[in-house]
């Protein structure tokens, strides 16, 4: 013992180690696993029903099992505020709701009728929702959407995260994360774009699942079991767990709707946090010509007449594009000159047998084709700009671009027009398209 004290005296850091060993190690060993005390939410749905927030959580639950399948459950809760709804969800789960690993946030059109920024602000600043989380709008209740997503994952191994990740990288003009939304929201024009994925009943255009799903009207306590006073509801995977949404609906014998997810690159324009308009794939194509981010677009040229083709339909794939923009004032009017260099490949030819024999190499291009491509690009851009001007939504961030490039003149011009909202309608777009074989 004496030797021990001598050692301690000579090396006081040992005392620190003993202190740690006594106080911290036992606590760490006794403490339950994080997965026991925390529910890992991979997607969150936000909705509003009769002045109450409805939060739906797609939650990963770690149960020991002998298969390699991941188990997800859906939990829904309501509250006057989001914090109340999340607290109720926590009670329902018997775990703390952890949003650290949430990749997708889904908002319903109901909620998009009002400013969604305060809700997202709360989730990001207080509830630790990552800002890299992709924001998606949908036409149905988020609860139903989440059920669909869960089933889609179970049936086809297609998850929302992968779909949105692909869209954000290859389809959309910008990334549609919460951060991107908030940047647009706090910009002078207060405009953002978010992804839009509607659920529709039985078309052949969407991604289907085999299982019918219940809507709010049809469920009445069977699809999602209401849990008394808390107002919280649970659903499940349908794999035998209690509170399973699909299991409940089947046992009650009700007919559910057959839904399909439409993922064709549509987006929603959000202004001041509210939905203003939908933009479809055609408008998005026009918008994408202003960004070198998205490649792989296909240009379909009808009625091509040149030295090799007569009334042929040609499809060109854009492999690469280089965009240069110049912002200047001409006679006091803002002019945006966009130079687009396209590197294309001929991918598909719909022409006569003789014509196909003559010219079908990938690098084929003629003056007539160049003119057609230029015409198509310009008409797509014009279509997109018209929509944004009509809605007074400066999605192209023209005001900011001009402010950066010509600050003094933009300030003067703003005084004339009154508001940044009006700016886009005064911008003259000049587009120069150069096409090269790739």
């Amino acid at each position: 013992m004496r030797r021990f004290f001598k050692t301690i005296k000579a090396t006081p850091m040992l005392l620190a180690l003993i202190f740690i060993a006594f106080f911290f190690f036992p606590a760490a060993i006794i403490a339950p696993a994080e997965s026991v005390s925390n529910a890992i939410v991979t997607a969150i749905g936000l909705d509003k029903q009769e002045n109450e927030y409805e939060v739906t959580l797609l939650t990963f639950l770690s149960y020991p099992n002998q298969s390699y399948t991941e188990r997800y459950e859906i939990f829904t809760s309501t509250g006057g505020t989001l914090s109340e709804a999340l607290t109720k969800a926590g009670l329902q789960l018997g775990k703390a709701v952890s949003l650290f690993h949430t990749h997708t946030a889904v908002v319903s059109e109901n909620l998009l009728k009002e400013d969604i920024a305060p809700a997202l602000n709360y989730l990001v600043r207080v509830a630790s929702l990552p800002q890299s989380c992709i924001l998606i709008g949908t036409n149905v209740e988020t609860k139903l959407f989440m059920e669909f997503v869960k089933e889609l994952d179970a049936e086809a191994d297609l998850n929302l995260e992968e779909l949105t990740f692909f869209n954000s990288n290859y389809v959309y003009w910008n990334d549609t994360s919460i951060n991107s939304f908030l940047q647009g929201y706090y910009s002078p024009t207060e405009t953002s774009l978010i992804s839009y994925m509607p659920l529709v009943e039985s078309t052949d255009d969407g991604i289907p699942i085999d299982k019918p799903l219940q809507t709010e009207e049809g469920e009445q306590g069977s699809a999602n079991m209401e849990s008394g006073g808390s107002g919280a509801q649970t659903g499940g995977t349908g794999s035998g767990s209690s509170g399973s949404s699909s299991g409940g609906s089947q046992s009650s014998g009700q007919q559910g709707g057959q839904y399909e997810l439409i993922n064709d690159g549509n987006e929603i324009i959000i202004k001041k946090g509210k939905k203003v308009a939908d933009i479809d794939r055609d408008i998005l194509r026009g918008l994408n010509w202003f960004s070198s981010r998205t490649t792989g677009a296909v240009l379909i040229l009808d009625d091509v007449n040149d030295e090799n083709f007569d009334h042929a339909q040609l499809a060109y794939k854009v492999n690469q594009k280089q965009i240069r923009q110049h912002f200047d004032y001409e006679n006091g009017v803002p002019v945006c000159t966009t130079s687009i260099r396209l590197f294309v490949n001929l991918t598909e030819v719909d022409a006569s047998k003789e014509e196909l024999k003559k010219k079908n190499e990938a690098s084929y291009i003629s003056d007539a084709v160049r003119d057609k491509i230029e015409e198509t690009v310009k008409s797509q851009i014009s279509g997109a700009v018209d929509v944004f001007v009509q809605n007074k939504t400066d999605v192209l961030e023209m005001y900011e671009h001009f402010y950066r490039a010509q600050r003094g003149q933009t300030k003067k011009f703003l005084k004339q027009i009154g508001s940044p909202d009006e700016f886009l309608s005064h911008v003259v777009f000049k587009v120069v398209v150069s096409v090269f074989p790739n």
Partner: protein
């Protein structure tokens, strides 16, 4: 000699101390006061740091073996020396409180959301206490050991953040009054080179070693500027939301979703930095304390510090919000006073030392 550190260790100490309180919440606070022009406030305040460093070299050159306390005492008397050291003592105490609270909130949010405040208190206090007891040389060796790891991680973080680069920050968009307001409210987070004066007699410094200091500190300055630049370019108008700059610049992007939580690099870096910076501040504070109460040994000094620190934290007098409010509103005046007194004192000493030369 055993209590001294080499010029290289001194340079690393200064270089790592330059990151204190500047890489987490400060970029966001600067954006709130003066938008992306916060980067110019950073440059201005870094220039102040360089001026303090230059003054340190001048004093060290004139008085190579004396402590700063001895020099003040010699030329201005014991009362002025004690008064100046009381100011430094309070200054370092609030610096520790600020750094401790900012680090705590960072780790609380990023890693240990369920862990109690007191656990952090004891973990940090243990390291500060043991570092002070082991002495400056042990701290110096620790600094040398972790330096390249920390700097390497910082560069890696900046490199990763380039993947999220969006657009050039919008500069010169704030009225001039905002600059001055920003300079004042953020001044307390700077002035880290004051530590060098307190440790003056414990750093072995030859004339040619000044370059070494500028080399190491230059690397820190470049890293700081790059972090602020990337932060403002990535977040733009939403910079005010992001309170953990160094982590946020690499984690916000959906591009990294599949790679998992990359901020582990930032977490480890901040962890080592916080421990080292708190140890240095604590050592400087104890030095001030021992100069004021010369009969107290280092053990009693650190025990007094620990007791006061625990009492302040336990009484909830100072927490994250109050310490930031104090730093922005009150400690700015304190920093101005110290940053003004120091050049005046330095000028006086150099004048006196020249007069004494035959």
């Amino acid at each position: 000699m055993t209590k001294t550190i080499s010029s290289r260790q001194g340079a690393i100490l200064a270089a790592l101390l330059l990151f204190a309180n500047k890489i987490l919440v400060l970029p966001s606070l600067m954006y709130e006061s003066s938008n992306a022009d916060g980067i110019f406030i950073l440059l201005a305040l870094l220039a102040v740091e360089m001026l303090i460093l230059y003054m340190f070299f001048k004093v060290k050159e004139a008085f190579p073996y004396q402590s700063f306390y001895e020099i003040i005492k010699k030329y201005m008397g014991t009362i002025v020396a004690k008064l100046f050291y009381v100011l430094l003592l309070v200054y370092f105490f609030f610096k520790i409180m600020l750094l401790f609270n900012i680090s705590y909130i960072y780790f609380h949010i990023q890693v240990y959301i369920d862990v109690a405040y007191y656990l952090f208190l004891f973990a940090f206090l243990l390291i500060m206490t043991s570092s002070v007891l082991r002495g400056l040389r042990a701290i110096g060796r620790g600094l040398e050991f972790f330096y390249f790891f920390i700097i390497g991680c910082m560069f890696f973080i900046i490199l990763l953040s380039f993947a999220n680069f969006d657009k050039f920050p919008l500069f010169f968009d704030s009225p001039p009054a905002q600059y001055f307001k920003g300079l004042f409210s953020n001044l307390f987070c700077f002035g880290d080179m004051l530590v060098l004066f307190v440790l003056m007699d414990k750093i072995e410094l030859k004339k040619k070693d000044e370059k070494k200091f500028f080399k190491y500190i230059g690397a820190s300055v470049v890293i700081l500027i790059l972090i602020y630049f990337m932060f403002y370019s990535i977040f733009g108008q939403t910079s005010f939301i992001h309170k953990n700059a160094i982590s946020d610049i690499i984690t916000f992007s959906y591009r990294f979703i599949d790679l998992g939580r990359l901020d582990i690099i930032a977490i480890v870096t901040v962890m080592f930095l916080s421990f080292l910076q708190l140890s240095i501040y604590c050592y400087a504070l104890c030095e001030c304390f021992m100069k004021l109460f010369s009969k107290l040994s280092i053990v009693y000094t650190i025990v007094v510090f620990d007791a006061i620190f625990i009492a302040v934290v336990a009484s909830s007098l100072v927490n994250y919000l109050t310490v930031i409010n104090l730093g922005v509103n009150v400690m700015g005046y304190f920093a101005i006073v110290l940053h003004l007194i120091l050049p005046i004192l330095v000028l006086c000493f150099i004048k006196f030392s020249h007069r004494r030369q035959p």
